[in-house]
Symmetry: C2
Subunit: 269 residues, 2 copies
DNA sequence: CTCGCCGTTCGAACTGTTGAAACGCTCTGT
DNA sequence: ACAGAGCGTTTCAACAGTTCGAACGGCGAG
C-alpha cells in the first residue's frame, strides 16, 4: 500500500481501481477525446499500464474507441451510471415537482445542489418557460455542474450547516479566488456570512460568482434534521432586481416555502 | 489473465478494475442503497475483497457511506462523470438547439439516442411546454435511460444502419419479448422492418413499446456519413393520432428536416 | 527514406491482491 | 440475560494479477 494519506484510515485500498478511475476522470468536458499517450501523461502512468486499463474500460463500455483515430472518449455506460446516481438521491424524486412549481410561479430558474467536499454539485434544475437561458449559458450550468461552495448561495447554506470541525478542515484547503465583483475573498468574510445564514436561514449571493447574477438559497433537511441539500432561485440583473435586498424581498418567501415543503416530504418535522 | 471470452481479444485486461466497476454498476435506480454483504452477493465476490473495493470507491468519492446505517450509495463523482460523458458527445452540443426548435414547433417530445450494444441510450430529450408528461412518466424515460433497440423507433433506425455482421451478432442475442400490443416478436419481422427503414429513411414505432405510444425516428450522420445517432418525435394516443400513418404524415417532414440539419452541422454533405 | 510518435504486444520480476478466518458490534428471538 | 445470526471491518500469508522496459508495426512529417 503506497498510500498513507492524512486521516490514517489507509487500510483497505485498491491501487488498480484507483488508477482505472483516474483514467476515467481524466476525461472532461474540456478534454473529451484522448489517446493512450495523452492519458498516460495525464495520470503519470506507464504507457502499457495505461493501455491495459484503457482496454479494460473500453471492453466494458466505459470508454469508446474511435476506430479511425484510435482515440478514446467516454462511453454510454458512464452516462448510465451518472443517471443511476442522480436517481439514487431519493431527494430528487420528491423535490423535482416542488422545484418545477417554484420555477413556474416565480418565473426564474431554480436549482438544487448537494455538497461534495469544497464544491457544490447541481442535482436538479428547473427553468420557467419565461426566463430562457441567461447566465446558465454563460456559466454553462447544468445538472452535474460543480462550483466552489464559498461563492454560491447554495454552497454557503450547505457550509453554514456543517459541523464546525468539518467546516474548518474544508476552509483550510479552499482558495478564496475572486470570481465576481463582490466575491468574499477571505475566510473572515465568509465565516461572518455563514453566521448570519445560520441566523436568518437563507443565504444570498450578491454578484459573488459573476457580475449581474444574484441568488437566494435555503436549506433542505431530511427526517433526521440534517441539511442534505440546498435550493435556490437565481436572477439575472434586470430592471427590478437592482440590489440584493430587492431580490431577497421578492423571492425569500416562496423559496422558504418550497424548501420547507421538500423537507416535510423527506420526513422533517 | 483468467478471462478468455469469445472474440479472442482477451489480451490486456485488468481484473481489479473490472471488479470495481461491477460494484459500481450493481447500484441502480431500483437498488440505490446497498451494504457490503448485499454487494458481495450481487457481484459474487468475497466479502473482504468487496470491502476493499468499496472502501476505495468511497474514499475517492464514487460511493457515499451513510454514517448511521453503514450502507453505501452512489456519490457525486459519478454524477460528474456521467455529465462529462454526455457533453463529450459533441453531438449533443450541436443537436440540442435543433431538438428544442423541433419540440417547440411540433408541440411534442423529441429525443435523441445512440446505440450501445442491443440497447438505445437517450442522450438528449426536449419537451415542448404544451405536451407535459404523458408516457414519459409511465415509462420513466429520461436522458440516460436504456431501452431495447428492437422495439423503439430510434433503435430500429440505428439497427438498420449497422454493418450486417454486427447486426447479425446483435440479433443473435436479443430476446424479442412482447412489450406493447404490436411488438415485432421475431427476427423476420424485424429484419423486414429494417429493410423498409433503409429504403424510406425513417422508422415508425406503432405501439410496439407501449399501448397508445407511437413515434417516428430518423438517422443523424456525422461527416463520414456514418449513422451516429437517431432522433424521434413521440406522440401519445390523441384525437388526431389514431393510426401510425396519420402520425407519420404529420411529423415526418419536420423530423427529417431537423435530422438533416443536425447532420449538416456535424459536417455531413 | 528516415525519423519520431503513435497504439499495441510481450514477458519475467514483483507487488498489489486475494479470501479464510476472526473481531466487535447490533439486532432478534428465546 | 442469553445465544445465535448477520453485519461491517481487520488481518495476514500465499498467491496471482500487475508492472514496466523493451520492442513491434503503422503512420505522417520532414
Amino acid at each position: 500500500m503506497p498510500i498513507d494519506d492524512e486521516a490514517g484510515s489507509g487500510a483497505a485500498f485498491s491501487q488498480s481501481l484507483e488508477r482505472g478511475l483516474m483514467i476515467l476522470s481524466s476525461f472532461s468536458e474540456t478534454r473529451p477525446v484522448l489517446g493512450i499517450a495523452d492519458i498516460s501523461r495525464a495520470v503519470t502512468l506507464n504507457k502499457s499500464t495505461t493501455y491495459r486499463y484503457v482496454a479494460t474500460l473500453a471492453r466494458l463500455g466505459y470508454l469508446h474507441q474511435d476506430p479511425e483515430t484510435k482515440k478514446y472518449s467516454l462511453g454510454p455506460k458512464v452516462v448510465d451510471l451518472g443517471f443511476a446516481a442522480l436517481n439514487s438521491l431519493e431527494i430528487n424524486r420528491v423535490a423535482a415537482p416542488c422545484l418545477q412549481s417554484l420555477a413556474d410561479e416565480s418565473g426564474y430558474t431554480v436549482s438544487m445542489a448537494v455538497l461534495d467536499g469544497p464544491d457544490v454539485v447541481y442535482v436538479e434544475r428547473r427553468r420557467s418557460g419565461r426566463a430562457a437561458g441567461g447566465f446558465a449559458i454563460s456559466l454553462n450550468l447544468h445538472v452535474g455542474s460543480r462550483l466552489p461552495a464559498y461563492c454560491t448561495s447554495m454552497g454557503k447554506v450547505l457550509l453554514a450547516h456543517l459541523e464546525p470541525a468539518v467546516l474548518r478542515a474544508l476552509l483550510d484547503r479552499t482558495d478564496f479566488a475572486r470570481r465576481g465583483p463582490k466575491t468574499l475573498t477571505n475566510r473572515e468574510q465568509l465565516t461572518a456570512a455563514l453566521a448570519k445564514i445560520r441566523q436568518t436561514g437563507v443565504a444570498v449571493n450578491d454578484e459573488e460568482l459573476a457580475a449581474g447574477l444574484r441568488s437566494v438559497a435555503a436549506p433542505v433537511r431530511d427526517r433526521t434534521g440534517r441539511v442534505v441539500a440546498a435550493i435556490n432561485i437565481a436572477v439575472h440583473l434586470t430592471v427590478w432586481a437592482t440590489t440584493a435586498d430587492t431580490v431577497v424581498a421578492r423571492l425569500e418567501r416562496p423559496l422558504r416555502h418550497t424548501a420547507a415543503e421538500i423537507s416535510t416530504r423527506l420526513g422533517y418535522r
